[in-house]
Symmetry: C2
Subunit: 452 residues, 2 copies
Amino acid sequence: MADWAWVFGYSAKPSFQSRRPIKKMTQKTRPAGARRNAFYAQSGGVTAVINASACGVIETALKHPRHIGKVYAGRHGIIGALTEDLIDTSKESRATIRGLKHTPAGAFGSARFKLKGLEQNRAEYERLIEVFRAHDIGYFFYNGGNDSMDTALKVSQLSATLGYPITCIGVPKTVDNDLPHTDCCPGFGSVAKYIAVSTREAALDVASMARTSTKVFVLEVMGRHAGWIAAAAGLAGRKAGEAPHIILFPEIPFEQATFLAKVKHSVDHYGYCVVVVSEGAAYPDGRFLAEAGTRDAFGHTQLGGVAPLVANMVREAHGYKIHWAVADYLQRAARHIASKVDVEQAYACGKAAVDLAVAGHNAVMPTIVRKSSKPYRWVIGHVPLAQVANKEKKIPREFLTAEGFGITAACRRYLTPLVAGEAYPPYQDGLPDYVRIKGAPVRRRLKTAFKV
Amino acid sequence: MADWAWVFGYSAKPSFQSRRPIKKMTQKTRPAGARRNAFYAQSGGVTAVINASACGVIETALKHPRHIGKVYAGRHGIIGALTEDLIDTSKESRATIRGLKHTPAGAFGSARFKLKGLEQNRAEYERLIEVFRAHDIGYFFYNGGNDSMDTALKVSQLSATLGYPITCIGVPKTVDNDLPHTDCCPGFGSVAKYIAVSTREAALDVASMARTSTKVFVLEVMGRHAGWIAAAAGLAGRKAGEAPHIILFPEIPFEQATFLAKVKHSVDHYGYCVVVVSEGAAYPDGRFLAEAGTRDAFGHTQLGGVAPLVANMVREAHGYKIHWAVADYLQRAARHIASKVDVEQAYACGKAAVDLAVAGHNAVMPTIVRKSSKPYRWVIGHVPLAQVANKEKKIPREFLTAEGFGITAACRRYLTPLVAGEAYPPYQDGLPDYVRIKGAPVRRRLKTAFKV
């Protein structure tokens, strides 16, 4: 508990119900004894382990036949609900469902689609309820990040208003690790492991070659506003002078002169320099280093290409030979090197979501509660969606070194357990044997189409 | 044999001595009974398994104490020889030497340093002989690609001219798989596996998101003149319509209109498009798509950044949302997902180099000879350096589909065994536990310095 409280700056007891045993809740929203279907959807950017959460939801629902009938998954997330395009997961073999635990990305399809506020687009919410009603859906499990928790919360609120009872449970997922009130987010541990491993490997390469060739290597990693993924690269080095020599975090305003001096210092002292730059690295005035100018469906600026920009900056200043890499989707899809802890937590969050729902909870999200770092012990807690929705957890300043180019021992203590253990997928012909769902559609019951 | 002969277009028996048993050579160049030291150096771009070859050389040399004394490694390759900066590998623990087998990049340091022709820079060759003589080095094991085989050949020729007997054996290494007269090159199988795995994983990600987000994903891979690495991405898909939908090979002149039409076709039919582009992709007039304008020590154009270029091309033509990745060093350093076959072949080539030398061979390189593809069987052969030096093996046209955007069944048969098996490194605290050498220097015996 000590570590966990420290991370988020709490000293008093948390305001949410993370320690309350799941079984003890009264069952307010669910009609007693009614068996209803469940709807599961994946939302936003996918991860190496979001399907492990799906596996947890589906396998656990099968253990509650008195409460839960079928589990329908939205084809391409919430869009599948709006367009009544539902996948009947009972038509998949048990082996396929089990195989989701070792299969990356969103097996049912995900969506970057944020429902607007109730005032702006009440029709979308009403349509959701219409589809849920048509298919007797009493449980809504929404597997996503901040925006998705906001959607789940709104559906929960509307269901009360419209008199259609539905239990809404969020299932946390984000490689960005930026959900509040949970020690970490499923999806993060695996991308963290991938980035730490890749940084260590590439650094050995650069060190080998630096005498006559590449002296500076720049690796761009994801993380729009929170530098958790970039921080994970810091695990690659164990001693002073080991790579990465410089990490550029979104949380630390970028000062070009300081950065360039640090690059030169590293090359002068160690013979080479490995730079890890977050896609969200920004100038003191808040402008991203690489501003593409385009925006995604959530209105976020679409980034990419900060690595070549930083590489050119160094080349122009110092003339070093430089290489750069942009990991992009490779990092968040890398199930082959997933963290075992992450896979287990993703599954546990899916399982807990169902257990919470069956126990009568509503509008909550399971959380990871750290009990101790060494040895690493964690349990599942939960938090009201209202406390999670649309909030971002950045790296605490104490996790970054004074000069802002690296991580502290405290950050290392926080990160290390999250990348622990390997959970290798099965292989066939030298490649991971990932499962594909059949995706059998549920017969439509509504005559009305809905355009998204 | 059938497959192998077919790959290189041979129908008659090969002109080199690949099938001659190692033990039967007469010992012409080595003074009978003399025990002399060995020099080992890593050259050019490193790989995930070049250290496995080093391990093979060093461990095998220890088994020939009557012939080989110490194994000295060049610190940063041939530069270590020129500057008399030698590493005494006998000062490393057996565990460290064994650990090289699971450690990527060049543990002793590599170099992009090509010796000029004898007429242009005789001083360099004479210096090499001077250092070899000072340390009683009678064996030169050079672990590299085409250029390095040329250097090893020249040293061998000069040693005869200068009356200093030295046995020169090349140890094949290149991720590019472009050495002739060997079925494949150590280093290639692992990068091939990494690219095939990464393509499969990223493709699942894009397929998940395509409905509302990224429709086209572009992955840039290495391969300056030969598209072997790009071809390996083709293993990711098994059926028609599966990613990658388009591979851009250096061997196929790039036609923008055809390419853009193919991208649109893929998005229209499958909902998304995964493009794998070789850094060496070029226009019909031979210009690289991404010409950086700078050149490396070997005079090759330094490339990088063709992925964003292709991405922009697609975005401008079709307006799709696009993501791109550049794997760069991550791909060739990815020991965490190395091919087991590749690791074994790398070790076997190092071992064979020593066995060949001890048996009296000179100016040869061990080769991989494929006996059958299914089941995969291979043996070690060897070929004169003169037949390898400065030659490049490109992909045969029959390995690429008629339209030139994919691989054929024959190519798949060739590639599949090379990515077979996993050879996971040991892990500590969630990260691969790669070894570091102590790198104890050999005491200098020459008073003269040499500037490189």
